[in-house]
Structures are given as C-alpha cells and as structure tokens.
C-alpha cells in the first residue's frame, strides 16, 4: 500500500470531507430530502440555549434602550442620579413587562376577533443561523399542533409560513425571503397577484399589467388563493411603482415589522387538506399535502 506523505494528509482529508459534503448535497437535491434527522437533533440540542439567549439578550436590549440611552440626559446631582438610576432600572423591568403585556393583549384581541380561525401564539426564540435564508425560530412545535406549511401572522399582517416543525420548536420562512410568497390582491382595485420576497426589506408584486391603476400607499391584502392564509389579512402597502414590460414593477412595504418580531400567531389549519378534492388554483407558494389535520392545541 502506498503511504501518504504526512504533509499531504491534511489535503487528502480536505478532499474527502468536501467530497462527502458534495455527496450529501447531491443526495438532498436528488431525493428532495432535507436531512431532517440531523436538523431535529441539532435544533433539539440548541433551542433550549436559544430560548435562554433570547430572554437574556432581550433583557440586555431593554436595559440598553431604557437605561443607558437615558443616562446621559440627566444633569442632576450624583445622589439624585443614583436614586434615579435605581428607579429607572425598576421602571425598565416594569416597562418590559408592560410592553409584553400590551403585545400579548393585542394578540389576544386579534385571536378573539378571528375566533373561527384556529391559531396559537408563539414566541420568537431565534433567527436563521446564516444569511442564506430569512427564517425565524418559534418556541412551539409539533406537540402544540404546528405543522409544516401553516401560515404565520401578527395582528399587523402576514409574517411567513412554517417550513419545518420539530417536537418543541418550528422554523418559519419570512415573507421577505427569496423563496417566499403569498397570494395577494390590491385592496381598492381588487387586482390579484402573488407577492414575493427578494431577500430585501421590501416585497415585490409580480404580475400586475401596466393597464391596471395602482396608487402609492394602496393597501395590499391576502387573496386567500394560496390556501395558506385566509382572505383580507394585511400584507403591506405599495411603496414604489415603476412601469415594466409587460407588468408593472411594484414594491411593497410589509405590514408586519419582520425585523422586530417577538410574538406571532400560527394559523392551525392546513387548508389544502380540507380542499384536497378541489383543483389547485393557488398562485403563490405550493403547499405539500400529506399530513393529517393537526391536533387541537392549548392556546396561549
């Protein structure tokens, strides 16, 4: 057997490791597999730390925003300032709790006003660990009734859809991701067209003919045609219109603040299953059928 010179061993190892990963990529592409087992293990192992990290960093952020940012403005004596600082710290904690209570109250009101749509509240505990996709991680998963392809919203508007559900966590593809989309229509003219992400803060509305009138600031709402989101949920507002060939180039500012999500609602229904006998006329994200209706979960 030919011995490999020691200085070349690391090169051989590099080639082997790269080849192994290329093979793994090829298998995923060929079989449309996603390496679910590895992901379940990794997410299961890391999500408790993410959960703790999320609370910890939230606390640091609140302190930074409400305490340090205000500290330079005070001109009072050292003694009074110390007392003030102590009070501010207490206020900060109370403000954090009050803000959270306000957000939860808004979620609750929204839920009560849409009692016919089953949904569950979830807390955002992480984001995608890279810039290749725009995802967030929720603290609720299959055990709470969440399944792949379920819609995710806030009272402000559409957020995205569940792309993977793990036992105690789930991952959501944000509407701004390049692979994402939602069936939508213009609220005034009722012109229907899918709205998709492009990896930037603004969304794009793709197929509106040049002849159709569109106004800046016009509201864009869900059309219900993607069978993920119910009709009339806010998607965003028209922020930019350019004429194109053959369709207008319309950019949409998302209604939900996708960069600062803390709590969201997951729509606990897989409408494609309910309509499985109908012809699929969805104009945005194709949904994957094949899973049973989710169990009713305890609602927040």
């Amino acid at each position: 057997m030919v011995a490999i010179p020691s200085r070349h061993k690391s090169l051989v190892l590099l080639a082997g490791v790269i080849a192994l990963q290329v093979l793994m990529l090829a298998v995923q592409v060929k079989r449309d597999s996603e390496g679910r087992l590895i992901r379940v293990w990794t997410v299961g192992a890391v999500s408790p730390f993410e959960r703790a990290g999320s609370y910890g960093f939230g606390w640091i952020r609140d302190i930074w925003r409400h305490y340090f940012a205000l500290q330079n403005t005070t001109k009072e004596s050292e003694q009074i300032r110390r007392e003030n600082d102590a009070l501010k710290l207490q206020i900060t904690q109370l403000q954090g709790k009050a803000a959270e209570a306000d957000r939860l109250a808004i979620l609750l009101n929204f839920r009560q006003s849409h009692a016919d749509v089953p949904m569950i509240g979830a807390r955002v505990i992480g984001t995608g660990a890279g810039t290749a996709s725009l995802t967030i991680q929720l603290d609720r998963g299959e055990r709470d009734g969440i399944r792949k392809n379920m819609g995710v919203i806030t009272p402000d508007g559409v957020v995205g859809k569940v792309i993977e559900a793990y036992p105690n966590a789930s991952q959501v593809l944000l509407l701004t991701d390049k692979e994402s989309g939602v069936g939508a229509m213009l609220a005034d003219s009722r012109v229907q067209s899918p709205v998709g992400g492009q990896g930037e803060p603004l969304l794009v509305m793709k197929y509106v003919p040049n002849d159709d009138a569109v106004n800046l600031g016009e509201r864009v709402i869900t059309s219900g045609m993607d069978r993920i989101f119910p009709r009339d949920l806010p998607v965003g507002n028209v922020a930019e219109i350019k004429s194109g060939n053959p369709f207008k180039q319309i950019r949409i500012k998302p209604a939900a603040n996708l960069e600062r999500l803390e709590e969201v609602l997951v729509l606990l229904s897989l409408r494609p299953l309910e309509m499985k006998n109908e012809e699929n006329t969805g104009d945005a994200q194709p949904s994957t059928p094949g899973k049973a209706n989710p169990p009713r979960a305890a609602k927040r």
Binding site: L14, Q21, Q28, S133, L261
Partner: protein, 175 residues
C-alpha cells in the same frame, strides 16, 4: 513576538493550545448568539460569528486537519439551524475550506497583529461568500450575484469585530 528562533536561525510559528472545552463552548456560544442576537438587534445579522470563530481557531491552532474539521462541524451545525431552505453542506463546504486555509496560512505567517487579523478576516469573509455563491451556482443551480457593496461593508464590519473578538479569545489560550 510569537516567533521563536532556533540555533540554525530558522523561525518557527508558535502553536497555541486552549483551555479544556474552550473550543466546544465558544463554538456553541457563537451559534447560539448568531441565532438569538439579531432578534433584538437587527443590524447584527451582518455578523457571521461562526465564521469568525472558525478563522480564529484555524489561525491559532495552525493544524490544517483540525481547522478543516472544526470548519466542517461549525458549517454543518449552521446549516442545520438555518432551516430546510439551506441544504446541509452549503455552509459546511465553505467553512471547511476556510478552516483549512486559515490554519494553513496560520502555520506560515505571524497572524497575531491586529492589522494582519483585520486583513485576513476581511479576505476570508469575501472568500467564504464566494464559496457559498459558487456552491449555489454549480451544485444547486441558484445563481447569485458575485459582488455587491453589501458584501464589502459586511466584510469590513466582520473584520473590525474580529480584531476585538480575537483579543477576547486570546485570553482562553493556555500560557
């Protein structure tokens, strides 16, 4: 100075060892912070802490095999946490190669000076992004633009953060 000279006048680059468990803890911490921090501070999404940690341990350990294996583990964990939209191996391949390159360069150059660290990190960041784009283009048929201003800004920000982060990580070295 980190170079030691032997009796024949040849220079040797010092290989650094770390406290027990330091590499594992820093690796996990980098992944957790990468996944949690941008929720509260959106602009920090431009940082790639797993990449910075891969580069640091590559440059310090100066062993190509260790460097590439650490890069592979870091990349695959990052892939796993990025959701099904990112196939397993996308970050894995890029970080494997960066880990190998960092430790190979670390074995030949003195990489302790902040200016050297800044330049190397910026170059590795651009190379890392190039490898991801190449993998997407060739293996996944998802062409992406090779170059934009965001990449330059991100490389400079990451390099600046790396200078300070590496000083902190230097404290984990065994004396």
């Amino acid at each position: 100075m980190n170079e030691a000279f032997d009796i024949r006048g040849e220079s040797h680059i010092e290989v650094h060892k770390f406290r027990a468990g330091a590499i594992i803890i820093v690796t996990l911490l980098a992944l957790v912070i990468q996944a949690s921090f941008p929720i509260h501070f959106a602009k920090t999404a431009v940082l790639d802490l797993p990449l910075l940690v891969t580069i640091y341990f590559g440059l310090s350990r100066r062993n190509p095999s260790t460097g590439l294996l650490l890069g592979m583990v870091m990349g695959l964990l990052q892939d796993s946490l990025s959701g099904p939209a990112v196939p397993l191996g996308l970050y894995g391949i890029a970080k494997t190669i960066i880990g190998y390159l960092a430790s190979s360069i670390g074995a030949r150059l003195d990489t302790e000076h902040p200016a050297a660290r800044f330049a190397l990190t910026a170059a590795f960041f651009v190379a890392h992004q190039g490898l991801i784009d190449l993998t997407r283009r060739i293996l996944l048929a998802q062409p992406e633009p090779w170059f934009n201003m965001h990449l330059v800004v991100a490389a400079l920000v990451n390099a600046l953060v790396a200078v300070f982060l590496f000083l902190v990580l230097d404290r984990l070295r065994k004396n």
